[in-house]
């Protein structure tokens, strides 16, 4: 039987787990192939049946001198093991040991640069999936991300030249073909399928890739809470730990709103203390159909949740915690459906939350923009998960 290996190396949270789980299930359901997984986190929301073919991914080796505020794609590569020959050698060997054991016919990489690089020169079909953030367009140096200021192309070129020399040295050691530019290994694949739409791509691309649209597939056990009783606007919030968490929770528990919170990771320890008659706090992820009649969604601007919120035609308050989310938030803001409060620096003041909530709940423009966007961007016009699965299936026929 043919084998497909799905790898996930970087990033965290449901934004990666959900689409990979959905794709894995679809592949298992429709193809005569055994599907294997190698993920960096044995995430609790992954279904147990997928663990039966799950290999722990090799650890990401942090750079010895990390770039503090990575601004470009190459900065990110530098920080996750492309900074030294030793790191590259160890990681490539580790991934190749996995390939030798699994012997995949198709490799599907989601935010897995080292896994993809390690496969270079091996007889395997390669598929790149993920949002635009994970897949750089061709070019040397790699073009700047949308909406992120301060991108110094010359600095990037210097960084990439040194990185390319290191990468080629290690590729040669492993008998793999060298590259002429750093992003070659992202382009030398059999299929690039971006699980996003052009409006929410993280790069401006001269040659558009295959946009599959966002596929919603929330894994694991979902909660179906009811709205707390009483009056007031309904707010759904998906919150992780961040500097302003307490301030926001105080605001949300003022009694003026009816609130359902999915508190992820360590945010649970904080958020559960705010549970009340008008605030429901859930540890498991919340099924979005149970909050479809919300007036507002608050999140950290994860790519998937933004799409799912737009599908519900709801306005958003976005609290990005890192660069990728900053771009997502800026994309959403650009189409007029969201307000953004930066949470990567100083903790936001209570007044900032107060003002944003007031505008998003009081002004009709945000909801109208969400409705207009949804109507002009019907998710059904994108190929989606089934088409992606079919496209991958062609490599195992």
């Amino acid at each position: 039987m043919k084998r497909i290996l799905l790898t996930w190396e970087l990033g965290s949270g449901l934004g990666h787990v959900a689409p990979l789980t959905g794709l894995g299930r679809q592949l298992e359901k429709t193809l005569e192939a055994s599907v294997w997984y190698s993920f960096q986190s044995l995430h609790e929301q992954l279904p147990l049946e997928q663990f039966r073919r799950m290999l722990q991914a090799p650890p990401v080796q942090s750079a010895r001198n990390p770039i503090g505020r990575p601004n470009g794609f190459s900065d990110m590569l530098h920080n996750v093991g492309f900074d030294s020959v030793g790191h590259l050698r160890g990681a490539i060997r580790a991934w190749r040991d996995i390939y030798a054991l699994v012997q995949p016919d198709v490799l599907v990489c989601e935010f897995s640069p080292m896994s993809l690089l390690a496969s270079r020169g091996l007889p395997v079909a390669r598929v790149q999936i993920g949002t635009g953030w994970h897949v750089p367009p061709p070019g040397a140096p790699v073009p700047a991300y949308r909406h992120l200021p301060g991108h110094d192309l010359e600095q990037q070129r210097t960084l990439e030249d040194a990185m390319l020399e290191r990468v080629n040295r290690v590729l040669t050691e492993f008998g793999a073909p060298a590259m002429s530019s750093l992003t070659d290994f992202f382009q030398d694949v059999d299929l690039i399928a971006l699980s996003t739409t052009p409006d929410f791509d993280h790069f401006d691309r001269t040659k558009p890739p295959r946009y599959m649209g966002h596929s919603s597939a929330r894994p694991g056990t979902l909660a179906h809470p009811s709205w707390p009783p009483g009056d007031g606007p309904r707010i759904f919030a998906y919150l992780k730990p961040f500097q302003g968490l307490n301030t926001l929770l105080k605001q949300l528990s003022s009694g003026r709103y009816r609130v359902i919170i999915h508190a992820a990771e360590q945010a649970w320890d904080t958020a559960r203390h705010f549970a009340s008659r008008k605030v429901t706090v859930s540890r498991p992820p919340v099924a979005l159909d149970s909050v479809a009649d919300a007036d507002l969604v608050i999140s950290h601007a994860g790519h998937g949740l933004i799409h799912e919120t737009l599908a519900l035609e709801l306005p958003m308050l976005l609290l990005p915690l890192h660069r990728e989310q900053q771009v997502n938030a800026a994309n959403a803001h650009e189409i007029g459906v969201a307000l953004v409060i930066e949470c990567t620096g100083q903790p936001p003041a209570a007044e900032a939350f107060e003002a944003a909530l007031g505008r998003l709940l009081g002004e009709a423009q945000f909801r109208q923009a969400a409705r207009a966007f949804r109507r002009s961007h019907d998710p059904a016009t994108y190929p989606g998960l089934t088409a992606l699965s079919d496209a991958i299936g062609k490599f195992v026929e």
Partner: protein, 403 residues
Amino acid sequence: MNGQSRLSILVTWELRGGSGHLMRLRPIVEQLARRGHHVTLAVSDLIRAQQFFPDLACLQSPQRPGQNPGFPQFASLGEILHHAGFNDLGMVKRLCAAWQAIGELVRPDVVVMHFSPMALLAFQAIPVRRVLIDNGYSHPTATPRMPDLRPWQRGYVELQDGIEEDILQTINAYLVEQNREPVAELPALFRRVDSINLMTLPELDHTGPKRHVHYRGYVEPGGPPPPWPESGARPRVLVYLRPFAGIGELLLRLGGMRWAILAIVPGHDQQLKARLAGVSNLHLTEALCDLHLAARQADLAVCAGGDTVGIMLLGATPVCMVPYNAEQYLTAWRAEKTGAAVTAGSPSRLPPRSDEIITALNRLIGNPDYRDRASEFAARYKDIDPARELSAIIAEIEGEGFP
């Protein structure tokens, strides 16, 4: 051995870090590979393992995601299991499934496990030969309760009983689901194997002597002869320590005592080297040498409290122990009872200060009883032969029917 009898052997190491674990496994793994077996490793420190085993496949062992709250200072093996996820049936199922996924790919005839409790549970459900390579810290006594890893302090028995009861229920729920008999007590899980090999000796077993195990002493990693400084008739002191805040001061004070000192300090910096440059009776190096030979040549040793303590005592060399952590302190605590070793500092502040180490060292030098006890210890084990013990371990791994 012919090609047909080659075994697929999965070697696992799941908990804790550091080179010591890999050093313990290396001679065994190398010998297995030399005998033509197909060896795959699944280990907690993958990148370091690649350096130890450049020609073997190394996988990352399944890791519990996130942090399990509580018990940062483990007081029992039960707390270590709790921290590893044994308190959560969902986590146990996921981690065991991930171990079994490795099993499905490697198709092992034998699983050799080192400090790998989740692998041990996962491979209960699979018909393979199971062999443990552990020491007294990672292998429990044959008593209902898991052993105390901090016997010098007051325990909190009721809490620990509660933790162990939770873990026992979780393990049994998993075993029953896998159509396996539940265990009556936690330590029983660790006896559901074909062979238990502890890389220590009864007196130095962290949690006391055990009857149901093979004590194998300490592997002989080999290495070059110890590069002693020119000693003349001066006594030889072996120092084998990792860098810590007071190491420069300690070595300078030792240098002032006019002994011939070989200081093996892996990972030391240039500053330390420069500081000791003028000390002619001290040779500073990062490179490990043949410790068994060094033990026979040294007059006394200063080390942290791991396997080196046992190796030194087998060479009739009394030891001043400088524990960095509670596990090493536990070895030191046991070693002191032999009368051949002294421990610097106290468990409440590790590692000890250099003046505490000098005080302990002076105790050792000032009392010939320590050397006598060390000689007696060595005499008790004069017949122990690392090469023979290694062969015995290999035979246990291969099982019956191998030449």
